[in-house]
Amino acid sequence: MSSPSKDYAKPDEYAWKDEAGQGILASLFRATPGVVSYELARSRTPARIAMFVLMVGIPTALLIAVANLTPERFRANQQTNIAFCVLLYALVPQVMTMLGMLVLASPIVHTELEGQTWIYSLIRYRGRRSLLLGKYIVAVLWTTTAGILVTSLSIPFLPLQNPGKAWLTISLLCVLSSLAYGALFILIGVVFQKRVMVISFVYALLAEGLLAWIPAVVNQFTIAFRLRSILFRWLDLSVEKFFRSDGMVSNGMVAEDPTGFVQIGWVLAITALLLALALWLVERLQYSFQSEL
């Protein structure tokens, strides 16, 4: 180590006030890109790339295989169009994106605690919030990219009546799904310190997998309900034909929103609410990391 005295004698040169004497939002906007670029650089590992390839490869292969198995006489059928639109939606923005965010977003705090690095963000100005937000953005980027790639690779092989519109809708749903599920799983990860993945998975299964399909008011509290409504409205899918009942809209299977824009607003509002709650809690909760210090 070199002699440090000359540097310690002039602390004002690098005093924090010059750099960080700013409001919460300003400091977050300054700190978060740092976390994003660090995490992106760090995530280019063979394991992460392999996971990405699997995330993209499995649903793409599955979709193309199902399309190839569809008899030629059914390919121009309107019912087939609905079925493939729903299959694409179910596999990509619903299952793949949700599970991707579950794996990437829910253990953010837990991983830091386990890796004994939580202390370093804890003792930084807005460290916990910028870490959470930065890692959330990286998780959204990875998952959205994977979702859009699957959609782009598989749509040319699917018997869809309007592939362009389907690509646009599913891609938008990938973005919305990543944002909302990411915020949800981050909140779960902030609140629970142990078995985060299990809790997130059980929640996803019960609420987003089961509750979202119950035609009652309760399903309106799920993200899946909002995403499904956007799918049906934007792709002009016949709710009656898919559910084989004309009472499904009034029963609450799909939202009564002719444009779908209200549902986009809902998804963004849910995302903002969950994310704000997670960011608020992460500064206030005390984590058991005694061995950290």
Binding site: W16, F289, E292
Partner: protein, 322 residues
């Protein structure tokens, strides 16, 4: 003037386990060593000081601010934790830039400062090597770099000498001596006394979450003189001295040593012994060749304080009294 620490009945419980027990202390700015064995509560106290933990009872202020309520304090404090640095796949420079940016620094300033501080801690040549390839000593220096990078007023180090070889220990000591000389505050937690005695003269002795004693080395030595301890007296009139001492209420045990002219005394109030010996020697009742007490260092005091805290006898190794 703003104090460094103000602890008011500060307590922290982990369920039914006491982490920190009723600390009551005000310290001005300066360099302090927090001494205690493993599990004494040093890390818990550091957790409270940094705002990572919240007190169950009582309150504290660090540099005039409540660490639980303000995040501004984080800009004024640098912490080097005791735990191993387990960061994979990133270089020390990348890591430091991240932490500086998390402190609100711009990208350009962060890069410049990271280079500068890595040079200060002697990692300039290894700055672009992944941290997981570093030796333990290099990782320790990397941890120190992140603690001082943002120019804090108070530097807190938890067991900074862990894993360092003798040269590394010396370099770390030098660096901390320079830090203390620069007028900035320092809190150094360690369980090895002799390592910190070179860096600071002010100590806080902690055990079982309780503050056993605090003060300068001189103050603590005076305290040592008032605590029960063993004293060896070399005297040609050993038997007469033993009979005189046996009547005194502050003598706990008198033990004849294997050497023909030595007595080992276990004394409750050493100052009274010294007064009595001086009086007897001056009146010619006894002759005293040599008095050697406990070695007078802080570690002896610490051992004695812990013994008292545990309710043990003052000194166990004297053998049975005769």
């Amino acid at each position: 003037m703003e104090n460094l620490f103000e602890f008011r009945n500060l307590s922290l419980m982990y369920g039914t386990v006491i982490g920190v027990n009723d600390l009551q202390l005000t310290l001005p700015k300066g360099a302090y060593a927090l001494i205690g064995p493993n599990g004494a509560g040093k890390s818990t106290l550091i957790g409270l000081i940094t705002g990572a933990l919240r007190p169950t009872l009582g309150s504290l202020r660090v540099l005039g601010e409540n660490p639980c309520r303000t995040s501004n304090l984080q800009q004024r404090v640098g912490v080097c934790p005791a735990t191993e640095l387990l960061v994979h796949g990133v270089t020390s420079k990348q890591w430091l830039v991240l932490l500086l940016r998390m402190s609100g620094w711009t990208k350009r300033s962060s890069v410049e400062r990271a280079d500068q501080v890595l040079e200060e801690v002697g990692l300039a040549e290894a700055r672009n090597r992944p941290i997981h390839t570093y030796s333990l000593g290099m990782r320790q220096r990397c941890k120190l770099a992140q603690a001082i990078a943002h120019g804090p007023e108070l530097l807190i180090l938890d067991e900074p000498f862990n894993g360092l070889d003798p040269i590394g220990r010396y370099q770390m000591s030098e660096l901390l001596v320079q830090w203390a000389k620069s007028g900035k505050s320092l809190l150094l937690a360690s369980h090895v006394l002799h390592e910190v005695e070179r860096i600071t003269d002010s100590f806080m002795l902690i055990f079982g979450g309780r503050l056993l004693a605090s003060g300068t080395a001189g103050e603590l030595r005076r305290l040592l003189a008032d605590l029960p301890q063993d004293i060896i007296v070399q005297s040609e009139t050993r038997d007469r001295l033993a009979s005189l001492l046996a009547e005194k209420p502050w003598i706990r045990a008198v033990h004849r040593d294997s050497a023909p002219d030595r007595l080992v005394l276990t004394v409750d109030r050493p100052m009274e012994l010294y007064d009595a010996l001086a009086q007897w020697a001056s009146t010619g009742q006894v002759s005293i060749q040599r008095i050697s007490g406990s070695d007078g260092d802080i570690s002896t005091l610490f051992r004695l304080l812990i013994s008292r805290h545990r309710g043990e006898r003052a000194y166990q190794k004297t053998g049975s009294p005769s």
